[in-house]
Subunit: 101 residues, 2 copies
Amino acid sequence: MDVDLMELLITYDVDTTTPAGQRRLRQVAKACEGAGHRVQKSVFEVVCDPAQRLRLEATLTELINPRTDSIRIYQLTKGTLATARHLGAATNPGHHDPLVF
Amino acid sequence: MDVDLMELLITYDVDTTTPAGQRRLRQVAKACEGAGHRVQKSVFEVVCDPAQRLRLEATLTELINPRTDSIRIYQLTKGTLATARHLGAATNPGHHDPLVF
C-alpha cells in the first residue's frame, strides 16, 4: 500500500469572530488531527492514500463556511516533508508514527 | 534566470501574547509580503532564486524569537503551487506578477 501514499500539506484560516466560527475551527482542527501531524496552529502534514485524502476533503468541505473560511491543500512530491526547513520553535513530526483515520 | 527559480511555501506561528510578539508578527508578515504572495493569514507562496531564499531566511531568523515563534519553509517541486487545491474563501495568487525583493 505504500506505493499509493501521498504527502499533503494542509493549511487553514477559519473566521473565529463568531461562536459558530470558533466551533468550526475546533472541528477543522479535529478532522486534521485525525489525518496527520500538526506542525503549527493551522498547518498539518498528512501522509495518506487517495481514498483517505478524498474522505478528508469531503469532511473539511462540509465543516467550513465557504464564504469566510479558507483551506488549502498542497500535494507534495514524496520526500518534501522530510526536507522542510524550520526556524525557531517548529516541531519535527514523526511521519512513521501510526495514523488512525 | 528562470531556471534557478524555486517554489517555496512559508508558514508561521508567532506568539502574539506580548506587544513585542505582535511587532514580530507584523515584521515577519512584512518580510514575507516583500517576497511572495499571501494566501492565508500566515501562509505565503514564494517564487524566488536561491540567493533571495537565503536572504529571506536570514531576515526571518533575525526577526523571530526562536523560543516562542515558528517558521516553516517547504521547498516544493516546480509546478506544485499551481496545483494547490483550495476550499472555501482561499485566494488564487498570480505568480506571474512582478516581485520586488
